[in-house]
Structures are given as structure tokens and as C-alpha cells.
């Protein structure tokens, strides 16, 4: 499967993500600079973490309005899988590819630690290598990960199993409603999540709980 990583100025987990995709798929992802308008023929598009444009104005706001997002929107409509991790998640929300917004952490502080994630829906293009209800270890590192959406939106997400991951065992690090850590779009081919599975993919990291996400995303759903 071909994948592409989108690069905006200020992103800083691009190399982590490129390494993870390379190691797990055995294939270097294409690196797409934000001013390129053509992403090429890929099955998976990833927007990595960081601080695009310094997260100035609102996290992800400025990147979300750059031309390449229209290309990504079209690809998503055509069914291409899209993952946004951390800043990538914030960008996808600001761009309207995912509902809701990521507000300042309830603690108001940047938080970097390992949390537990529950696989809330294992029947998705991004999670089918996990079992329903699995709990995974996963690092988080963010300042604005406090997921918020209007009650009706939350109800819809819950009703349609569009919550892919939840913070488990009281490890919600940011105050997100319903412990939401990652959500899907309606078609189920766009995933946004705050935690960093790309930083837990090999023995050296002290575990590989994050691999399943990439293994799922990089294989066709059976």
C-alpha cells in the first residue's frame, strides 16, 4: 500500500511518522510539501503531529486553510484513508473533515505522558488489527487535546460507533468529553486522534502497542 505524509512548516513529528510507516509497511511514504497540490496515487494520507504555523491563532487553524487541504478533501471523498495524529487531528477538525474542536487541555498545561487507550470500535479501517475493547498503552504530547463538540454531534458520534479510541482507566489527560481520544468521519475513512501511536511501535520504545493502527491502515479491510 502506498502512503503519503503531508508536511506543513512547524510540524515536528513528521520524521517519527515517516519512520513508523517505513518500518511497518517496508515502503518509504511519499513526502508531500504543503504547497504541492498533487499527492499522487496513494491509499493512505497521514498528517503528522507538531505545531503547524506555531499553532498560532488556533491549533491547526492556519494549516487547515492551505490549498493542499482541498486535495486531501477530494481524496477523502474518493475513499482514500486519511489519518491525522495530534496536530493532524486538530488540522482535520479545523478543515471540517472531522466534527468538533480540540480546546486547551483542562489543566491548561502541555501534557506528555503515557496513557491507556480503549479500542472503542475495532471494526474500522484503522483498528481491525485490534480486538474490540483492547486497552493499549500510548504516549500523548499536546497542549490542545481537549475534544469538544455540541451534544447532538457527540450523540451522533456515539450512536454511529464513530469513536475509535477512548482514554481508559481514568487516564484522560486533557478533559475530553466522554474520554474521546480519536474519532472517525461518517464514511469511516478519516481518523483523527491525539495520542502518538508512532512513538510506540518497536521493542526499543518499550512496546509496540501502536503498531496495530498502522498495520490496520496499511492493509485492505478483509
Amino acid at each position: 500500500m502506498k502512503s503519503a505524509v503531508i508536511l506543513f512548516p512547524g510540524l515536528n513529528r513528521d520524521l517519527d511518522m515517516i519512520a513508523a510507516l517505513g518500518k511497518i509497511s517496508g515502503e518509504e511514504p511519499a513526502k508531500i510539501w504543503h504547497t504541492d497540490t498533487d499527492i499522487g496515487d496513494v491509499d493512505l494520507i497521514v498528517i503528522p503531529g507538531g505545531f503547524s504555523y506555531g499553532d498560532y491563532l488556533r491549533a491547526g487553524a492556519i494549516a487547515a486553510r492551505s490549498p493542499i487541504m482541498d486535495t486531501i478533501r477530494k481524496k477523502a471523498e474518493a475513499g482514500v484513508k486519511v489519518i491525522g495524529v495530534c496536530n493532524g487531528f486538530q488540522i482535520l477538525c479545523e478543515a471540517g473533515l472531522l466534527p468538533g474542536a480540540l480546546m486547551r487541555n483542562a489543566s491548561l498545561k502541555f501534557v506528555c505522558r503515557e496513557v491507556m487507550l480503549e479500542v472503542a470500535n475495532a471494526d474500522t479501517a484503522f483498528t481491525h488489527h485490534y480486538a474490540q475493547g483492547d486497552t493499549l498503552r500510548c504516549p500523548v504530547a499536546h497542549h490542545d487535546g481537549n475534544y469538544f463538540a455540541a451534544p447532538d454531534v457527540i450523540d451522533e458520534l456515539e450512536a454511529n460507533n464513530r469513536i475509535a479510541f477512548r482514554y481508559a482507566n481514568g487516564t484522560n489527560p486533557n478533559g475530553s468529553i466522554n474520554d474521546i481520544a480519536g474519532i472517525l468521519n461518517e464514511q469511516g475513512n478519516v481518523l483523527g486522534m491525539m495520542p502518538h501511536p508512532e512513538n510506540l511501535i518497536e521493542a526499543f520504545h518499550g512496546g509496540a502497542d501502536g503498531r496495530g493502527l498502522f498495520e490496520s491502515a496499511l492493509t485492505k479491510v478483509a
Partner: protein, 732 residues
């Protein structure tokens, strides 16, 4: 040159120049300086840039060694780590600015040190921050802690470097002057290191990065001035950091360096354009002419004086290969950064500044640096430490309770509240994150592929030791860094220092400085731990009250195979707990004594450097032989705190058998000691190896259970609550 502004005595004093220093200027240029020239001299000749009080002592430090590629003199030190790779590192203070505006002061401190590292062509791979604050109960402390920590994180997290270690300490002597010492290390190929030395006449001098504003005008002067009650007037010089621009500047510079366009490059730090231009010219034996009308500015009506002294952040100066101008400017366009040819190198060794077609400065470029005043300031013998008062050491359960007090104290407790605000995972190479003896990161090879090679980082100093005996304190700071690196299995390579002291014009302060340097120098020589970079911060004093002498040391060590790395956490039940270096007896200046008396008394433990080396080499050796399941050095708090931390981190208890005087055994802070654990099966092998190496070693207990048995009994929960509880509770 016409003098628009009369140079009065007040003006001279405001620029921090003493009358004799001003006379030196007159003798040097044979005329009254222009206001711009006066500003340039004040920037070049203040303590911060000229090291005028410290130079003659810094010269005594060992700065060479087999692994040293480049010692002090450039933006950062360069150390060979094999396979055609080098680690480039330095530590620098941002104390005064952080006291005045904690968030921005700390943020720009981190930005500055990162720039020092990537100016040389290295991609930053690790950062540390050594912080010192006033008493927890002091009115300002909480505000300063939250601002500084948020600032360090706000900049480093956004820039994208993992923060792998540091220090946080509280003491009333920092009530009026906090310390923010930032360390950064980067990775470069040994054949692709960039220097500030300009080469070639008539070549373009290029301004890179962010625009120039009035930020920090007079900042370098401020950073060398003792605080008085007029501190508010020093405020408008606050600089604001822009980590986004810095991240773009990093990527742009590394891209630029690949093109071969860079002949010389230098970041703009303190007194930005002035220091960088003069450093580049002087070190290359060239003159520099700048046309300030070409400098990208973000404010109207900026004067030459302001442009030359501005400390706006995220800027660089470069000497460009003219044939590469096009590709170079394209790169900076791509990253949305300014790229402006602002001057040219000349062959006349003059530093010439043009503005609106007029010459506003024309100075001898080498003398600006070389002729800076240099002082051999008078110093006294350091005072003898206060004698230890009669105290009754605890017995029985009270001994165990004191362990709980210490791990739950302001200086003994967990720093999690701090380091969880720093990104410690980014880059995916963190082998050991904060909370252990040293931070460890895996090193990719020249092509960016994973390897087993790793680097370890630690930063230490014990200021109350230094206050009681600067010489032994200086030795101890070096020894503790070296020990922390050894304790993870790393071979210490080289070190950097950040010497924070009070007003050097007071002989008793100068005495602290001199003796600390002597101690540091001796320790670095004995441990083959050369100092490749560093920074001095003097005048950390408010209304005559100086800080504790704080010569922060930081060091880098190498692990050939990161799989053979030790951590402090107990791993299994029934492991043997071994004490390397024997039981201690020294109670002076210990945390326990402070807890019992509320003060700092007695001499600090003395450091036997030969013993340090012997025990450290042994510990590293058995770690690398895979004989060790956990290792922790014994420092502040003594054996009791060391085993408590190992138990808390591993969530495994232990029972420790102690000699008659349990309290002294647990709380003395004798140096050159470690606690290690190994499996029952390997216990004898380890003891054997020790005997053969002539190492004093003793089996003192075994791991297991939910309690720590040491003197008395403490449950792991009690320990953890105390250890993890203090900081969050303090910050509220």
C-alpha cells in the same frame, strides 16, 4: 564622523562602562565614540560577552582530549562519537530575563541554546534545563516556577527536541535571582561542521531569519547588571520567542548548509548583530562593513544604535558563497524567512557601520574583542563552613519516617509535574526519559538509520555544598555528572559548564568562583572529562544578597549498545541489593541534616576522584556485562533516598539490613557510591568481579514485597504519595 549625541558620564555609566574602561576606549580609537560605537563597546565589553572577570580562570580548565574535535571558542563544543559523527553541545544561562518575565525569559533561553547548536550544522537531539528557584513559601516562587516551566516547554516542545533531563531546586538564596540554565545537544557529521570564522574578502554578509525589532535593546547590559529596586525600569527589554520561526530557521539552515553556500555562520545571541558580526570578522582576520538600511526591521524609525544592540530572536548572520545566492535565497523564501545581504567582508580589519549613507561607526574589529578589559579580581580564602549543631539522629521507625520526609520534601520529591510539561518522546529515540540518573537517546547513523549507539546526558550541581566549600563543591558537581552517566552504563565523554555566581567585584564571591573552578578543573582532569563549552553568569545578586554559588555541570556519555543500559527501577522480586563504595559517615550539608535542623551546616562530603573513577568504571563494566538489573548513584538524601526511589520506580519493595547506626548509614552523603541490584544467580559473580577489582562492595538486602524495610517499615504507597505528592500540591 559627526556626534549627534554628547557622550556624558551618565551615558557612560548607563552603558555599564567604568570610567577606566571608557578611558580604554578613548585610547583605543583616539576620539570620542559615537553613541552607536558606545553601544557596541558596551555590548562587547560587558561581562556577558567579554568574560572579563572570568577569562583568566576559564583558561585553567581542561578543554582537550582524544574525543574533543572542538573545544571552547565556537558556539558550542564538538565531540567525536565515532562512525564519522559528532555530538555538539553547550549550556547557557538566561537568569535575569527569566526573573523579569519567566515565560519569555525561559523560552528565549531555550531558543538561544538551540541556535548555538544548529548554527554549527547539528540537528538538536536532546535538551536539558537546570532550574533554581527561591524558597517554596516565597511570594514569587510559584509564579516563577509555572512561568519558567511553561516557557521551557512552550519553546522546546514546539521546536521539536526531546527534553531528557534537568534539575529543579529550591533555596531561599534564590529568592531574588532565579537560575535558568538551558542545555542543548545536536548531532552532526564530523566532516560537515560549520564555524563562525569568516573567510575571503569582498564576500556578501547575509542576514537570515526573523526581522529586527527593539527587543532586548540593552539586554546584554542588563544580563550583567546587579538588580536594584529600579528593576522595573529594566523591564522594556523583554524579548519574545517565536519557536515556529526557530523551527523554520533550523530546517532552512540545514538545507542551506547542504548546498555549500555557507562559508561561515553565526547565530545572533546577546547583543545580536554586533557580537555576531564582530566574532565572524575578528576570528577570520577580516573587516566587516554593514549597511543598516538593508537590515529587515519590523518597527519604524529604528536607529543604528537600536539595530546594533537589538536582541530580537531567531536570527543568524552568514558569509555567503556569492555563486550560490540564488539557491540560498530560494530556501529562505520557501521557509518564509528573511534573507538580506546586509554587508561585505573587507581586508582592513575595521568594523564599519553605514546608515543613510553616513558612517555611524568605524572601529578596529579585532581590538573590540581582544582589547576588552580583563580583570584578575581580588579574592579571599572562602569562609569556613558553620559547624554542625548537636542533633539527635532518629532511631527505629523514626529513621524510616525520615526517608518519607526526604522523598516528600521540596528538593527530594519527584519532578514529574515539571517534566510532564516537556515532550520527552519526540524523535522516537528516547531510551531513558527524565526521572532516572541520566537521559538517554538512541543515535541514528549518518544516513538516518537506527543503530544501537546511544548518548547519555546529565546535569548536576549541589549549591549548598559549593557554598560550604566551593572547591569540594566544584569537584562534586563534576563527579556527580560523571557518576550519573556511568550509572546508566555510559562512558562519560566530555562536559559543559554554566557558572552562576554573585557579584565578582566582591572578593568573597570571587573566592567562590576561583575555588569552584579549581575544583571543577581538577575533577575534569582526574576523570578525563574535558570541558568543551560553557557559559558564565555573574552578578546574580539583589540588594547585596548573592545566590548560592552554582557552577552547573552537564555532561555527555556514550553507550555502544543501548540494550546494555541500566535504569534505577527495581526489576524483580528477590534480586540482591548491593552497595558499591561502602557505608557512609558524612552528615555535613546533607538533606537529612537540613530536614532536622532547618539549616545548612558543616563541610560537604569530600570527593576522592580516584575512588570515583574506580567505582564508576566497575559499575559501568558490570552493567555492560549484563550482570546488573538496576543501578542508581547515591547523592542528595543518601542511601535511604536512593533505595526508596528504586523501589518507587519499580513498584517493588525491598528489605535492607543496616549497621548499628542506621540513620547515618541511610542519610550520609559520602561520594563515589552506587546501589545496584542483580539476580540471585549472578550475585556471587558480581561480588567476585568486585573483589578482583578491589572494589568495596556489600550485599545489604533483597528486593520484593510492598514495603521498604530500612530502619523501620514504609509501604510503597506511603513512599509514592510523599514522592509524587509534593510538587502538584505545592503548585496547586
Amino acid at each position: 564622523m559627526t556626534n549627534s549625541i554628547q557622550i556624558t558620564d551618565e551615558l557612560i555609566a548607563e552603558h555599564g562602562l567604568k570610567p577606566d574602561e571608557y578611558q580604554r576606549i578613548l585610547d583605543l580609537i583616539g576620539r570620542e565614540p559615537t553613541i552607536t560605537e558606545l553601544g557596541i563597546f558596551s555590548a562587547m565589553w560587558n561581562e556577558h560577552c567579554s568574560y572579563k572577570s572570568s577569562k583568566i580562570w576559564l583558561k585553567t580548565l581542561p578543554t582537550t582530549g582524544d574525543c574533543v574535535i572542538l573545544g571552547p571558542g565556537e558556539n558550542a563544543g564538538v565531540v567525536d562519537i565515532g562512525d564519522g559523527q559528532a555530538v555538539i553541545f553547550k549550556m547557557e544561562s538566561h537568569n535575569h530575563p527569566s526573573y523579569i518575565e519567566p515565560y519569555q525569559g525561559a523560552a528565549t533561553g531555550v531558543g538561544g541554546i538551540l541556535r548555538d547548536v544548529f548554527t554549527m550544522g547539528a540537528r538538536p537531539i536532546a535538551a536539558m534545563n537546570a532550574l533554581r528557584f527561591g524558597a517554596p513559601e516565597h511570594a514569587k516562587t510559584k509564579h516563577l516556577v509555572s512561568g519558567v516551566v511553561a516557557g521551557v516547554g512552550g519553546y522546546g516542545n514546539s521546536f521539536g527536541v526531546p527534553t531528557v533531563g534537568g534539575e529543579v531546586e529550591f533555596h531561599e538564596r534564590y529568592n531574588g535571582n532565579i537560575l535558568v540554565n538551558a542545555f542543548a545537544a545536536g548531532l552532526a557529521d564530523t566532516d560537515k561542521i560549520f564555524l563562525s570564522e569568516a573567510k575571503g574578502v569582498g564576500l556578501p554578509v547575509v542576514y537570515l531569519g526573523a526581522k529586527t525589532g527593539r527587543d532586548g535593546v540593552g539586554g546584554a547590559t542588563m544580563a550583567s547588571a546587579e538588580f536594584g529596586d529600579d528593576i522595573d525600569e529594566k523591564r522594556p527589554t523583554v524579548q519574545v520567542g517565536d519557536p515556529f520561526t526557530e523551527k523554520c530557521l533550523l530546517e532552512a539552515c540545514l538545507e542551506l548548509m547542504k548546498t555549500g553556500a555557507v562559508i561561515a555562520i553565526q547565530d545572533m545571541g546577546a547583543a545580536g548583530l554586533t557580537c555576531s558580526a564582530v566574532e565572524m570578522g575578528a576570528s577570520g582576520n577580516l573587516g566587516v562593513e554593514l549597511n543598516l538600511n538593508k537590515v529587515p526591521v519590523r518597527e519604524e524609525r529604528m536607529t543604528p544604535y537600536e539595530m546594533m544592540l537589538s536582541e530580537s530572536q531567531e536570527r543568524m548572520l552568514m558569509v555567503l558563497d556569492p555563486s550560490k545566492e540564488e539557491v540560498a535565497s530560494k530556501i529562505f523564501e520557501k521557509w518564509g524567512l528573511d534573507f538580506a545581504i546586509v554587508g561585505v567582508t573587507t581586508d582592513d580589519l575595521r568594523f564599519r557601520i553605514m546608515f543613510d549613507g553616513e558612517e555611524v561607526a568605524n572601529l578596529p574589529i579585532k581590538e573590540l574583542g581582544d582589547e576588552a578589559p580583563e580583570y584578575d579580581r581580588p579574592w579571599t580564602e572562602p569562609p569556613k563552613p558553620a559547624p554542625i549543631p548537636e542533633v539527635k539522629l532518629p532511631e527505629g521507625q523514626a529513621v524510616a519516617d525520615l526517608i518519607v520526609k526526604l522523598v516528600g520534601s521540596s528538593n527530594g520529591s519527584s519532578r514529574r509535574w515539571v517534566y510532564e510539561q516537556y515532550d520527552t518522546y519526540i524523535q522516537g529515540n528516547s531510551a531513558q526519559r527524565p526521572g532516572g540518573d541520566a537521559g538517554v537517546v538512541r543515535v541514528p547513523d549518518r544516513d538516518g538509520n537506527d543503530t544501537k549507539k546511544a548518548l547519555a546526558f546529565s546535569s548536576d550541581v549541589n549549591p549548598v555544598y559549593c557554598e560550604a566549600d566551593p572547591y569540594e563543591g566544584g569537584k562534586q558537581a563534576v563527579a556527580e555528572v560523571w557518576r550519573n552517566l556511568s550509572a546508566v552504563g555510559a562512558e562519560p565523554l566530555a562536559s559543559t559548564d554554566n557558572l552562576n555566581f554573585g557579584n565578582p567585584e566582591r572578593p568573597e564571591i570571587m573566592a567562590q568562583f576561583v575555588h569552584a573552578i579549581k575544583g571543577i578543573g581538577e575533577a575534569c582532569r582526574a576523570l578525563n572529562f574535558p570541558i568543551v563549552s560553557g557559559n558564565v553568569s555573574l552578578y546574580n545578586e539583589t540588594n547585596g544578597v548573592g545566590i548560592l554559588p552554582t557552577p552547573t555541570m552537564a555532561g555527555v556519555g556514550i553507550l555502544p549498545n543501548v540494550d546494555q543500559m541500566a535504569t534505577i527501577a527495581f526489576k524483580n522480586d528477590n534480586d540482591a541489593v548491593l552497595l558499591v563504595g561502602g557505608h557512609g559517615s558524612h552528615m555535613g550539608q546533607t538533606q537529612a541534616l537540613r530536614e532536622l535542623t532547618g539549616g545548612d551546616f558543616g563541610p560537604p562530603p569530600s570527593v576522592d576522584l580516584a575512588l570515583e573513577k574506580k567505582n564508576g568504571d566497575f559499575v559501568r563494566d558490570i552493567i555492560r556485562k549484563g550482570l546488573v538489573t538496576a543501578c542508581h548513584d547515591i547523592s542528595s538524601g543518601g542511601l535511604g533516598v536512593a533505595v526508596a526511589e528504586m523501589a518507587i520506580k519499580g513498584n517493588i519493595g525491598a528489605s535492607i539490613t543496616l549497621p548499628g547506626d542506621a540513620a547515618t548509614a541511610l542519610f550520609s552523603e559520602d561520594q563515589a557510591r552506587y546501589v545496584i541490584t542483580c539476580t540471585r544467580e549472578q550475585r556471587d559473580a558480581v561480588l567476585d568481579t568486585a573483589e578482583k577489582a578491589g572494589i568495596e562492595i556489600e550485599a545489604i538486602g533483597k528486593t520484593g514485597g510492598n514495603n521498604l524495610e530500612a530502619g523501620g517499615t514504609i509501604s510503597l504507597e506511603t513512599l509514592r504519595e510523599a514522592y509524587e505528592g509534593w510538587f502538584p500540591e505545592f503548585m496547586g
